[in-house]
Symmetry: C2
Subunit: 492 residues, 2 copies
């Protein structure tokens, strides 16, 4: 017993002696806390130890942020506010009165949670009306095809389009079989690889179909999994190519049509769509702030978009993203954590029609961009957060990674650098402003995306709380740090 | 080297000597092959070693069955035939001309694959017509509720029903709040526990709602997962309780309605249904055989049901079950494996309306039941097979488990005894006939069940092949064994 005690005592003494040296503290800290997955392509960081220490000194504040929203009286509150919101308004498509009412409601909510300078900033947005629509296979048998017109599509003629289908698995196959395409409805049955790679069939399918003489196009929904679920989304015409009506169908029907066509059977489809564009309308980007105590004009921006497609409730895309963003500012206000610089929540309008709101915002705030320390956005799901995804210089990434280590109590250990992150904020980061979003466990994101299944049921209250904690923590530290996030490699 | 060689030689000699003793062979065999998960509630088996040996002697034949359908020219064929079938006919609801055409087609197919005595056996079946139907929440806002009327439901009055909703989470809550229920549409938002436990809300929700004065009922779909997917299914009225219209809604909407009602907001729903029963029609159970070479009148029955709900394509429920059943007989025919007794494939009609086809079959074959060695059915999914589920006496279960060990090359190692298995055949096993189905990895079964997502996309060709191999193997061994599967504990 006495020998064992001596050994323990010796180790304790040695530990105490070594703990006073900075190097030991750092190594110890790293080994205990920060066994992060290094996903930043071998970024070599050599941060100033004083900066590392400064960042790590925020850990007690980060704990207070995390505890308040994962255990305290803010626990579950963002889910409750978001369900109040989505149950009240449902989907919030650009151009609808409903979207504008939901913006009014949200501004009241931001004021209720004591955000400052709450206001809307006007923005003209496009108005696309879906109207009545349906598609049916009428040969070789009658079968209704579950479908959704794609955003921006034109209508069919009043009697619809009845034509033979050409079913292809890829653009390459379409080009090889171009001679067969004239006068046909082109059905794309592309395999799902990833959202980023596969979505081109949605965004450009109509253009490619029209180039070879197709008179309408039906796209297999872009998703990793389907329960006979059509997924809408924006598509774009090419001004040099004839516009044709275009819609998505389900994975199930696309595969069936392919099987039937591979048997050499003729397929005839009837498509009817009333889709059309209307005159632009006025909407608003919604803004609220936590004003800094020292450098008020320096901005850390957290954001999401408040509009949604006209299906489901826009709970995941992007009600949850918008709400965790402004709610992270509300949480800091409630904790009376006022940083040096200003934290600004922005809820973009008309993201789904092509990042419309943010583009107006840039026009109106162009001279302010140089004051933006970082722009953040949540528009890739609010599932269990696992880390940070960052767009910026290497030296900025090193600082961001160090800040990210403060989130290990949330079990967030990943860090990834990409050329651009999220959706709206890509329009800002292209001017050199650093950008960030959370890396979430979002395997199921595409299952719900742009569908009727985008409801509160897809969300988890505890995950929303963790997202709020993470955005609040990152925003607070960046807004309060002695230095700004660098934009040039040379700064560090 | 010479010492190592001597050791190897010694082990080889010892092995050869021991291998000739039955006990060693059994132990060796067990340890290498049959590390099965014992799921039969500690059933103590003490089978005659000669019987064990007889069963194990079938292993080479079982390999030939498995190889032909998982590697040979039968690989993928059942998926192809089933997709030909479902793509051609789609759903096959009882009472439709389409079901009868699909039965004609299937009989031709059975003949094409050389099944013997192929014929249909007449059966009168009920005809329920869904008609036009919809449901909408009109207060506190307009929101279309995705719904499906439940099988057997009556219609609403021609103007529909517009009434306040009472949302409850359980029958208990309904009874506690019975005073609030009068004149209301009762919405059941029961949690999903398991299909077996939760389906009572679908089958009896309307009766329980009517008992307390409800004028219609909407049931949260019975499923473990939803993408805004309504799940239909049969429900039953009670002759002593007023009949009210009843439908299912999605998990998502049921949860939303509950949240809204918990906020104290009044919900008004408009429900319109044209559902009604029509005069019974003639349908057929489809039969085909592989006639035994010795005891032709002794029967091993493999089955599935050919009818489906009027949504999706009835690919999983139960096109796949029906097809793997008759295809297992086709495989044996093709392999020229003729057992002692007859193997009979039966494709039941009108299972979904309450096991109608099998009940007529029992009436017509009651005296033949004593000749049934075993009845099998696939109606719980055709996902990756993992073992056998059996209903019968302990001594029969011991034999069945031993036969099941022949399926370890398919990685099927589970064995479970239950009071009854599958659907249609429960009507036969209650007369003492042993019954069996496959235990499959069917976690996702309820995701597709009775929905528009029940399509070929939910199925995997390799899994179908394995199901065919397993049914063919079990049917062949039982039909060829020196003994019949016992019905009484005392036999062994």
């Amino acid at each position: 017993m006495s020998i064992l005690f001596s050994v323990i005592f010796f180790v304790f003494i040695l530990h105490s002696l070594l703990a006073s040296t900075e190097g030991f503290v750092m190594n110890y800290y790293n080994s205990i806390f920060y066994n992060q997955t290094d996903q930043h392509n071998s970024l070599q960081c050599n941060l100033d130890l004083r900066l590392i220490k400064e960042i790590r000194n925020y850990q007690p504040i980060i704990y207070s942020i995390i505890n308040r929203v994962t255990k305290g009286d803010f626990k579950g509150l963002v889910y409750e506010e978001l369900s109040n919101f989505t149950d009240k308004f449902g989907s919030r498509q650009s151009g609808t009165e409903n979207l504008e009412k939901s913006i009014n409601y949200t501004m009241d909510l931001l004021r209720h949670y004591n955000l400052e300078n709450v206001h809307g900033e006007p923005c003209m947005i496009p108005v696309w009306i879906r109207g009545k629509e349906y598609a049916e296979m009428i040969t070789p048998r009658n079968h209704s095809l579950n479908m959704l017109g794609l955003g921006g599509s034109i209508s069919t003629p009043p009697d619809g389009i009845t034509a033979e289908a050409l079913v292809v698995n890829s653009f390459d196959e379409l080009h090889e079989r171009a001679a067969e395409a004239v006068g046909k409805i082109i059905v794309f049955n592309q395999d799902y690889v990833s959202y980023g790679e596969t979505v081109v069939y949605r965004s450009k399918g109509a253009v490619e179909a029209a180039k070879v003489g197709g008179i309408a196009s039906l796209i297999r929904s872009v998703t990793a999994f389907s329960l006979y679920t059509p997924h809408t989304g924006q598509q774009g015409y090419d001004k040099n190519v004839k516009e044709i009506p275009t819609a998505c169908i389900t994975v199930e029907d696309a595969q069936m049509l392919r099987r039937i066509s591979e048997r050499g059977e003729k397929i005839i489809i009837h498509l009817y769509m009333e889709a059309h564009q209307q005159q632009m309308k006025m909407s608003r980007n919604t803004v609220g702030e936590l004003v800094g105590y020292q450098e008020q004009k320096k901005i850390v921006l957290v954001s999401g978009h408040i509009d949604s497609w006209d299906v489901g409730q826009g709970a995941m895309d992007d009600g949850a993203g918008a709400f965790v963003s402004w709610f992270s500012v509300a949480l800091l206000k409630n904790l009376k954590l006022q940083p040096k610089r200003t934290i600004r929540a922005v809820l973009w309008t008309a993201e789904e029609q092509g990042l419309i709101g943010v583009q107006q915002y840039i026009k109106d705030h162009f001279n302010e961009l140089e004051n933006f320390d970082i722009v953040m956005e949540s528009d890739e799901g609010t599932f269990t957060p696992e880390g940070i995804e960052f767009a910026g210089t290497d030296s900025a990434a090193c600082i961001m990674q160090e800040i990210g280590k403060l989130l290990t109590p949330l079990n967030m250990r990943k860090f990834k650098v990409r050329d651009s992150v999220s959706s709206d904020i890509t329009m800002i980061t292209k001017y050199g402003v650093p950008g960030a979003t959370l890396l979430n466990k979002n395997d199921r994101y595409t299952w719900y995306h742009h569908t009727n299944a985008d409801t509160m049921t897809s969300l988890d209250s505890n995950d929303l709380d963790k997202n709020v904690a993470a955005y609040a923590a990152i925003a607070y530290v960046i807004a309060d740090l002695s230095i700004e996030i660098p934009r040039e490699n040379s700064i560090f």
